[in-house]
């Protein structure tokens, strides 16, 4: 139990990938294959996100420093455009505590993967529709029978 509980996320990742793989191999319905592909993909995304998660960490957005810590450099010239200067950035702590923010890198990799994933799902569905136009079926066995006729 003490071995499994801290690594439960990896087990779920493997289960999701197994389910998706099985569906892509074994299901005869083309739409089910597409859904299986999407589930396989979410398994991989879950893997990346969960290795980037940290205990007791916040979301990867730098919070403003508590009031009083924010300060402009003393003795500096008053900025010409007070609303948009580097002094404003001083309102943020410098640098932020690495252990208090989750890993942003794995998140951005997966963010783009999701959008590309829906685009490829669209391609898969378009191919399935094209097959349906020819054979009037999503079932692999029926399509094969149609072809050998």
């Amino acid at each position: 139990m003490e071995e499994i509980v801290p690594k439960f996320n990896y087990i779920v990742v493997v289960i999701l990938m197994m389910t998706g793989l099985w569906s892509m191999l074994a299901q005869s319905n083309l739409i089910k294959k597409c859904i299986g592909m999407a589930i396989f993909q979410t398994g991989i995304i879950l893997f990346f996100i969960s290795i980037g998660a940290k205990n007791n960490a916040s979301i990867p957005i730098v919070a403003k420093a508590p009031l009083g810590q924010a300060h402009a450099p003393e003795g500096s010239q008053p900025p010409a455009k007070p609303e948009l200067t580097a002094a404003k950035a001083k309102a943020y702590p410098d640098p932020p505590d690495v252990n208090k923010l989750t890993n942003p890198l794995t998140q951005i990799l997966m963010l783009t993967a999701i959008v590309v994933g829906v685009a490829t799902l669209g391609v898969g569905l378009a191919l399935a529709q094209k097959v349906y136009q020819q054979h009037k079926s999503f079932d692999e066995d029926e399509i094969l029978e149609n072809q050998t006729k």
Binding site: L21, I51, I114, A119, G122
Partner: protein
Amino acid sequence: MAELPIWQYDTLFLIAVVLFGVTALTMQNLMSAAIVFGAYSFLMCLIWTAMGAVDVAFTEAAVGAGVSTVFIVATIYNTGASAKPRKPRVGFKLFAGAVAVATGAFLLSALPDFPAWGDPKSPVNSTVAPYYIENTIRDAHVPNIVTTVLADYRGFDTLLETAVVFIACIAIYSILRVDSAKSTVDEPDIIAAPPAYDPTDSLIIRQASRIMVPFMQIFALYVIAHGHYSPGGGFQGGVILGASVILLCISFDLKFVLRQWTEKKIMLLTALGVLIYAAVGVACIFMGGDYLNYNALDPVLPGDMAFARYYGILLVEVGVGVTVMFSMIGIYIILASNGRFNRGL
């Protein structure tokens, strides 16, 4: 037992996610499978929020639970909903199950080598990533680290990902698009036969979406522009903009939308987004910098030198938003109308 480094709710959600995934794959009716798959995506989005990946969760809520469910439903609407297999294929299913289990066993055999869930000292969290967390505010003055890494540090990656969405859109067009006048393929029965009742004729749905759509679009613009400070950005805002138009397609009909956005306009605008992104990079070269090094754009941008990257990120996010919005609309219309661009869901 020692202090458990996990989140109890996450464990419950993870179990629920597996159940939903298996249910979606075993259902006999494809329409139900699509809806359960949407619920699966929504649960995933909760899990990612709990793990601190708010941008990913936002994208998943808009893309996975929203748009991809609509894509699947549009495909099924054009075809058939029954997934009853002609042959049971028991032997083959067992064989495929054995292959899947073997793959899983190989993957699980690596389990002891992985760091514990949520370990801040794991290799992933302690090598490259701290650089981004420590330097984002100083380099780009953008509090949302994910946005900065997306559009600035890894700007090339995002440019090409946007190009992938555009190319996928073109691929779907070349697969499915048929000229209705010259087509020799029969229209599917469900499209050819008029439905028993006109599903677009619901006054409540029409008026509700008429009220909702402007607010959705304003929210989407806010998501794109405020992605610097909060979860959001070009991908999420673009998908929400696309979803608002898809809602119009569903609640009115395709013709209503196609009066505003013709097929040609949609394709041109999809390309325009990628071009905006690439042009920002080229502009950087002409201003004397490297490709996509926004500091070079400082003379033409408002504000301090320090904020050149801030505005550069905003410009490319607009490009991403335009491409994603119009590719989602285009993919939906072509899937829903079976390549004919005349009528659909």
